[in-house]
């Protein structure tokens, strides 16, 4: 049975402590040397990069850049440096065979052969070539007698001790460990514990159990006060083994339990770290998921927004179409209403015309018939005077009937918008003269004097035929209602700068005020409102309508018993 189970073998990498000796020690010199190369820029960038990575302990990058630089660099010393730093990186990456190659490739003239030897010792120790390891370390020790570089010295002593331990040359082991222990300052608990443990191992291997147990215990006691869990674990394990060998199983078990506890806690630490990593990963995954969710949400919102926009625009379009159709409908409705109104007017006109025909036309035609019967009687009696009188009456009746018929015709044409209407500029005087000339005979038969004072310089813009209809109606009425030996005066002249007037004044019976008011309000009256029994006839209505259509005005003024004055105002024409 193997008495010892543990070899506490720590490879003190100076890299863990080089910062302390950087400025003063060999390694510091080495760095300065390398920096010099980079500063002088006599080397490739890869060289400097490898150096930088070496210094910042980025082993992978350092290893790769050193490899690259090695292919380029031809200078022996530079090659040596690169081999060295690549070798160091290889050690850290646990590529010991490669490291060994690198170190062996370094030439004998290498300025820092001490560093090289130190490293070679380390490599050989790991590769369990203890004799070579001891050889290199001793070589180093020979090179650096009286060195102040404690870290290197300590490492060297320690590793020598370990090597001898493995070679079971315990005396030498003890010697080196003691040397190391002497170098370690009290404060450096870690090294104290480790070294004491190694020493204990050495004693234990020599079956100097008492000394060994004392040291084991001390290291265990120190470890319990120290923070390093691995040390606690190892010391506990050592104690467990030792107690077991002493057959103090109870204690051994207790130490084992403790060992297990520390192992657990290491495992826990690792686990915690792992868990934290996992947590981190989980958190990241969660975050990513959240981001994805957020993205999804945003996407959804976008879709929603798009949908909303499309929806609202569709709605607007729909409303627009609806509005359009509504407008169309309203338009149609309006049209229908307008048409209805027009139809109503046409209907009233028709009714009105029927009533005119039935009232105003029947009686004169009947009278005419009677006159003709009378005429037959007169012929039978050969009463020539009677014949003349009856014929005169018949002619008068025919004329007034014809006049009425013309009015009916014009009125119906006007109402159905069939009346030809084309205003043009005409001299006013000739038109008036032409109409008046038709009434000259009628006036003389009634001994009525027709006086005319007409301005020859006036041009009027009118529809000639409609103006004639109006003038005929007015003159007809004037002659009808003026007694024998009366007087009718017709005047025309300027009314304003852009207006002219025609005035027809008679000395007739005049119009009662209430009827006059009605006549004057005719310009805004329609057929359905005319009370035919009140004596307002078609003629005057026609006058109003046609003058209005000619953009003119017609005004009636009358004094019962003295006569009536009718004034027509029309737009003047421009020459």
């Amino acid at each position: 049975m193997s008495k010892w189970l543990i070899i506490w073998c720590i490879l003190f990498g100076y890299t863990s402590t080089y910062s302390q000796s950087q400025k003063t020690g060999q390694i510091g010199l080495f760095y300065d040397h390398m920096d010099q190369y980079c500063k002088e820029k006599v080397v490739t960038t890869d060289f400097c990069k490898a150096v930088d990575f070496h210094r910042s302990r980025k082993r992978d990058s350092c290893y790769i850049y050193a490899g690259r630089a090695l292919e380029i660099v031809k200078n022996q010393e530079q090659q040596d440096i690169l081999h060295y730093i690549q070798g160091v990186s290889a050690i850290k990456k646990k590529l010991y065979t490669k490291a060994l190659q690198n170190m062996n490739s370094i030439s004998e003239d290498f300025k820092f052969s001490g560093l090289k030897n130190h490293k070679l010792g380390e490599i050989h120790l790991v590769l369990e070539n203890y004799d070579q390891s001891i050889q290199y370390y001793k070589k180093w020790l020979d090179q650096h007698i009286g060195t102040k570089d404690e870290v290197f010295l300590k490492t060297a002593y320690h590793n020598l001790g370990v090597s001898y331990l493995h070679k079971k040359e315990f005396d030498t082991t003890e010697k080196y460990f003691s040397k190391e222990l002497a170098l370690i300052k009290e404060k450096d608990t870690f090294f104290v514990i480790v070294t004491k443990m190694e020493l204990a191992n050495a004693y234990y291997s020599q079956y100097r159990d008492e000394e060994a147990i004392a040291l084991f215990k001390e290291s265990y006691r120190l470890a319990t006060l120290f923070h390093d869990i691995e040390l606690k674990q190892n010391t506990a394990k050592n104690m467990a083994v030792v107690e077991k060998n002493r057959k103090r199983y109870q204690e051994s078990v207790a130490y084992y339990i403790e060992y297990g506890k520390w192992k657990d806690s290491i495992w826990n630490r690792d686990k915690i770290w792992e868990l934290t990593e996992k947590d981190k990963q989980l958190a990241i995954a969660q975050k990513e998921q959240e981001i994805q969710l957020q993205d999804e949400k945003i996407k959804r919102q976008k879709t929603q927004r798009n949908g909303l926009i499309i929806g609202s625009s569709l709605l607007l379009l729909f409303i627009g179409i609806l509005g359009y159709f509504y407008k169309l409908l309203i338009g149609k409705k309006k049209l229908i209403t307008e048409q209805k109104e027009q139809l109503d007017i046409a209907n009233t006109t028709k009714d009105y015309l029927f009533s005119v025909v039935s009232h105003d036309l029947r009686s004169p035609v009947n009278a005419l018939k009677r006159q003709h019967e009378k005429l037959l009687d007169h012929i039978a009696e050969k009463d020539l005077l009677g014949i003349k009188k009856t014929t005169d009456t018949a002619i008068t009746l025919t004329e007034s009937t014809s006049h009425l018929l013309n009015n009916v015709l014009h009125w119906s044409l006007e109402q159905s918008e069939q009346l030809f209407f084309e205003p043009e500029t005409y001299p006013l005087k000739p038109i008036l003269e032409h109409v008046i000339s038709d009434y000259e005979y009628l006036a003389t038969t009634k001994d009525i004097i027709l006086n005319t004072t007409l301005d020859a310089s006036i041009l009027a813009t009118v529809d000639k035929e409609s103006l004639k209809i109006v003038l005929r109606n007015i003159l007809d009425n004037a002659i009808k209602y003026t007694k024998n030996k009366g007087k009718i005066t017709i005047t025309s002249g300027n009314h304003a700068t852009d207006k002219c007037y025609i005035e027809i004044k008679d000395t007739g019976a005049g119009i009662p005020p209430e009827i006059l008011a009605k006549i004057n309000s005719l310009h805004d009256i329609t057929t359905d409102k005319i009370d035919r029994s009140k004596g307002v006839g078609l003629g005057l209505l026609l006058c109003h309508t046609l003058i209005k259509k000619n953009n003119g005005q017609i005004l009636f003024d009358s004094e019962p018993g003295k006569g009536t004055t009718i004034k027509i105002v029309l737009p003047k024409g421009i020459d």
Binding site: T425, Y426, P427, I431, A456, L459, D575
Partner: protein, 247 residues
């Protein structure tokens, strides 16, 4: 002075007779056509100053058809519608032929002559002249239409002595009298486009056939009627250039 020659298209004999008699009484020379074919033949064979059309001939709107033919053949004869038709349909059709005027039956004689005056005015685009004042006349490239004893007559433009600017318009001096033409002198010159009428002053257009004497030194022209017309330097040069005999 010459009388106007009128063609009347009227299917009703009674009315045709009435119109003819009345127009003849007022110094018009009237030819009557009772059908559209008759009217077409007469237009081809004779010269007319104006055509009076009834719209409905034997129940068809032949008056309008004839009016369309007159327009298509560019006969350049003024025509007017004399009708008892009051249907808007026919009026609209008639309006498309751009008649000088319309006269609705029943009409009186004064209205008929007035309508003839309106027709001449409108045809030669000199509105409100003849019908407005008896001193006015209407100028055509060959005749001057003037009012004479409640009638319209025409004067050959050769009888014009000279034309003088009067305000915006022109005064026309002839053996038969002076007439006002409602056109500017430039328009008159354009309308006549007759080499016999030469401008001698910015205000005067002279019928060179009527010149009796010319005094170049005194810048004076004396016409047959002894009228003294100033001769401006500017127009004198042109005048000499145009009349080789003087060189």
């Amino acid at each position: 002075m010459k009388t106007l020659r009128l063609l009347v298209l009227e299917d009703e004999d009674e009315e045709a007779k009435e119109i003819s008699e009345f127009l003849s009484d007022h110094n018009f020379e009237v030819t009557r056509a009772s059908t559209i074919q008759d009217a077409e033949r007469k237009i081809q064979d004779h010269f007319f100053d104006m055509i009076i059309l009834d719209i409905m001939i034997d129940g068809k709107p032949d008056g309008i058809v004839l009016a369309q033919q007159i327009n298509e053949q560019q006969l350049n004869i003024p025509f007017l519608f004399l009708t008892s038709t009051q249907s808007k349909h026919f009026f609209d059709l008639a309006k498309l032929t751009q008649p000088a005027t319309y006269l609705l039956k029943p009409y009186n004689t004064l209205e008929l002559i007035f309508s003839i005056e309106l027709a001449i005015e409108k045809h030669y685009k000199q509105s409100n002249t003849l019908s407005f004042n008896s001193e006015n006349a209407v100028l055509s490239p060959t005749y001057i239409f003037v009012k004479k004893n409640k009638s319209v007559m025409k004067l050959a433009i050769e009888s014009i002595h000279y034309i003088e600017v009067k305000e915006k318009y022109c005064n026309l001096i002839s053996k038969e009298g002076n007439f006002l033409i409602k056109l500017s002198l430039i328009k008159v010159k354009e309308l006549l486009s007759n080499p016999d009428f030469t401008q001698v002053h910015r205000n005067f257009l002279v019928n060179i056939k009527k010149i009796k004497e010319i005094y170049f030194e005194d810048n004076l022209i004396i016409l047959e009627n002894d009228a003294k017309i100033p001769f401006s330097e500017r127009y004198k040069a042109l005048f000499i250039k145009d009349n080789d005999i003087l060189n």
